[in-house]
């Protein structure tokens, strides 16, 4: 199955963008339909809160619609779309406090106590993700949580692949501390606060 955004998928995306530019009224919705699931996944993983994520995807969709005519084709359409989504998420995260939530399960748990413990763990992970510097959060969401390759994430974030890899490892290391997996009493230095650990070197 061809995924939107790969070689053949990008040709289809470009055909739909061309159709949109030519005035076909459904082409842009069709284009979004091909990518909406992953756009949503990036947003919900980045922001945690479903309402914020939905607003971010909606903002991004409208931004893409307005900018479609100026798309120059120097990137794949999926890269262009997800770059807009990431920026919309980060803008939203900057404007307001993130409220991580964990969706309710669709089926009742076998053991409510286990379920409660699991949901607590998930909430802790969401909070830890929300506490990452935004560049690190964007990188780890794309690579670890939504399955983009380092190269694709680099294209979306418009940075070199080495920077994405560095940001991912720094994010994982920070999560290791915040999730309690890294407690070294002989640590020569306390882990600095988030603001002092900005990642991003190539």
């Amino acid at each position: 199955m061809t995924e939107p955004g790969d070689g053949d998928g990008d040709a289809q995306d470009r055909a739909l963008l061309a159709a949109h530019a030519a005035g076909e009224p459904h082409a842009f919705d069709d284009l979004l339909g091909r990518h909406r699931q992953r756009m949503w996944a990036v947003a919900i993983r980045t922001l945690g809160d479903p309402e914020d994520a939905a607003d971010a995807v909606q903002d991004a969709s409208l931004s893409a619609y307005r900018a479609a005519a100026s798309f120059r084709g120097d990137a794949r359409v999926t890269t262009w779309l997800h770059r807009i989504v990431v920026n919309a998420c980060l803008d939203r995260a900057r404007r307001q406090a993130v409220r991580p939530t964990v969706p309710m399960p669709e089926r009742p748990p076998a053991d409510p106590r286990d379920e409660l413990a699991e949901r607590e763990t998930q909430l802790v992970v969401q909070l830890a993700l929300a506490g990452l510097p935004e560049e690190q959060r964007a990188a780890i969401v794309l690579v670890d949580l939504t399955g983009f390759s380092v190269e694709d994430a680099a294209a979306i974030l418009d940075v070199p692949p080495g920077t994405v890899k560095s940001r991912c490892f720094r994010a994982r290391a920070r999560l290791a501390v915040s999730l309690g997996h890294l407690r070294n009493p002989e640590s020569p230095e306390p882990v600095p606060p988030a603001a002092d650990l900005e990642g991003g070197t190539a």
Binding site: T2, Q12, A22, V102, K165
Partner: protein
């Protein structure tokens, strides 16, 4: 406590330096020399390496991404204003599922049409459709052997003109002597004329390459009609495909330069399926 044999090793590695070292090591780079001489940092580095596995486990344990909210499936395209020119009847906004379903159909169209093209060139348009078609499920459902392939030479000037022509396009081409027989000749194994701008699109490989730009290789349905024609004076191939809604059809109009890399798209419209 650690001991550092060299002065430059006095500064311990912090968390981000260790993370960068791990990232570099993944690409085959050597670990920082400090780790060889500082027991404390080496211990912490090993602990970080182990901790990252636990982090990966935690991330994998996050709940699945919830379904896309219904509100996000609504169109972002503004409705046309009352005075705006509308060339085709307005259709309801395609939902996410509908769009996905339609794309899946387009996927199938590539293989189905390619198979049809092989049949066409190999032995005639209305040749038995069970001879060489190996994509049985998809293509037999759409009977590619009876796929209407027209060579109308018509000059479509608007989507409305295509809509009007749909009943004829979906019917078998005329078999009476004259224009139909003459214009379909290249489809019956005769080499396309060099002066025919659509000659490449009459060959199986050219047609398949072009359709690959419109469709997805894993498609499960077949096209409904082809017409070698012109659109606003430009040589064009009209491809009619099923739409997700039974009452609709997708019409793709591509130019002579259509290849797998570039569709040379002239028009894409969703049209009403003609009533019988």
């Amino acid at each position: 406590m650690s001991e550092h044999p060299d002065d430059h090793l006095d500064v311990h590695l912090d968390l981000e330096a260790m993370a960068d070292a791990l990232a570099a090591a993944e690409d085959g780079a050597a670990l920082p020399g400090h780790l060889l001489g500082c027991a404390a940092c080496a211990t912490r580095f090993d602990a970080l390496r182990v901790a990252l596995d636990a982090v990966a486990s935690d991330l994998a344990g996050l709940p699945a991404v919830p379904a896309v909210p219904a509100g996000l499936r609504r169109s972002v395209v503004p409705a046309p204003s009352p005075g705006a020119t509308t060339v085709l009847p307005a259709t309801p906004v395609a939902s996410l599922d509908e769009a996905r379903s339609r794309r899946a159909r387009l996927v199938l169209a590539a293989s189905g049409l390619a198979a049809a093209a092989v049949l066409i060139v190999g032995g005639g348009l209305l040749l038995s459709h069970n001879a060489t078609d190996t994509r049985t499920a998809a293509t037999s459902a759409a009977s590619p052997g009876s796929l209407p392939v027209h060579d109308s030479g018509a000059d479509y000037r608007s989507p409305a003109a295509l809509q009007a022509a749909l009943p004829g396009l979906l019917s078998p081409p005329a078999t009476t002597p004259g224009k139909a027989a003459a214009t379909t000749a290249p489809l019956h194994g005769v080499a396309p004329a060099a002066t025919d701008p659509l000659a490449r699109l009459r060959t199986p490989t050219g047609l398949q390459s072009c359709l690959a730009s419109l469709t997805d290789p894993a498609n499960t349905s077949a096209p409904l009609a082809l017409d070698y024609a012109t659109y606003k004076g430009a040589p064009a191939l009209v491809v009619v495909l099923p739409s997700a809604k039974p009452s609709k059809l997708d019409i793709w109009v591509v130019g002579a330069a259509c290849t797998q890399l570039e569709s040379d798209l002239l028009l894409y419209v969703k049209a009403d399926r003609p009533t019988k």
